[in-house]
Amino acid sequence: MTSLPSPLDSPTLPPSPTYLRRWGWKRPSVLPGFGLTMGFTLFWLSLIVLIPLGGMILKTATLGWDAFFNAISTPRVLAALRLSIGGALIAAIINAVFGSIIAWVLVRYRFPGRRLADALVDIPFALPTAVAGIALTTLFAQNGWLGAPLDKLGIQVAYTPLGVIVALIFVGLPFVVRTVQPVLADLDPEIEEAALCLRASRWQTIRRVILPSLFPALVTGTALAFARAVGEYGSVIFIAGNLPMVSEIAPLLIVIKLEEFSYAEATAIGTVMLSFAFLMLLALNGLQRWSRRYEEA
């Protein structure tokens, strides 16, 4: 990861303190095109992202606090938010465990099919969510390839909250693997040899030496998987069964409210989810800064 250079790094201008005090919000440069590219960037950002999102927030503001609170505090909405956030949390934790194992195996061991397995990790990124949704549903349905044996054990996955979690594990998996993998690959083997020379057992080395250095990346990857899973829609709605209060996720409730023309309620739920996403983004920025510092230290 490269951090943005400080203005002092640029060779164009001597880092004179009097000069620095003079540049306002933009440092002068010999390169052309700032006005054009910055103008277009801000224009397009406003048109596609800021104005539409602002429109939603303004709409929420016109509801008034009471109406907003009433819209989001119905049992059905609360249950949906709980399922979306709780299910995403459980899925992220499961991904943290299995994602680390997969990253570990891919980096540390050599076995036939390793490169193929490495490529397969990206499938959940690339496969359209609706395709993943119908495939997972058919796979875990009562007569499906995996659903049938599980049914014999008395476990129902499709059309239950468990199905929601399976779909969320699917979408979150690459985030953990792809965040942990490069850090694991860059880990200096010498520190493990040093631990071995100091007569640490292999388990002690993993627990005391390797895991602490992986920890920031693992937390970041898990948070990324969690953030993605909270808002996930396409891969979940097929497998969930969508029973109100039981297996209905928050994004689906927005769609249902829109279909009922209850714009106010849809907007209120949307604003709660947007605020949550923004908080996650800030937390992730902080996390990434933390892990970068950790790696450099």
Partner: protein, 276 residues
Amino acid sequence: MMPPTEPRWVRYTLITVAMLFLTGLVVLPLLLVFAEALRQGLSAYFTALTDPDAWAAIKLTLLTAAVAVPLNLIFGVSAAWAITKFDFKGKSLLITLIDLPFSVSPVIGGLIFVLLFGLQGWFGPWLRANDIQILFTPIAIILATIFVTFPFVARELLPLMQEQGRQEEEAARVLGASGWQIFRRVTLPNIRWGLLYGVLLCNARAMGEFGAVSVVSGHIRGETNTMPLHVEIMYNEYAFTGAFAVASLLALLALVTLVAKSLLDAVLERREQRVP
């Protein structure tokens, strides 16, 4: 000295656990898409694909990607140029805002356009008075797709161009090159593979987007159904061959994207090794 490692039985157990997890969660669903699509035989498969509604969905998906991807490409290059070649205040806020569409639910990506252009939306009454329809038309589908794929190209280019610095461009400027010449002759050759990478990922998402598009499309058969929406409708009508046939095309697109991505990875790695 051999690098320290685990006992053989631990290694085999971990490899087995990892491979079982990947097989159950990733390989089986992928195989299942093709198995279900071909279950009734090849002719049923091709009949499902040549169905007029399926064709209309394929055409709309191609049109959407053909509009959304170039627009986001221009945006991505322009944002990356402004952000990496200049220093200004508020840079990290700008990057966070560009990233925002990645972190919100795709359904919100559709909801915001309903709130702008729907009957009860901000521009709803005006649009109605002037007899203009945006919601439930391909325009809304394209807008929602641009929203969800917004950060893809910028995200690939930002770290790449940041790493390459600006000395080469500054040298070109001092030698008298114009802005466009600098971009075409100096910057573009440096970033072309990263750019291609971003476009590939952007295109895959644009063609496969479901949540945002589903909210604004209105699901009008033959008119506002994209491929993922067609998959949904067929599936909900228990027309499984029809659903999985179109789904198999989307799965193929994902596989082609991944293969192209790993080829690009190999190219980038070789380039890095050549340049010390």
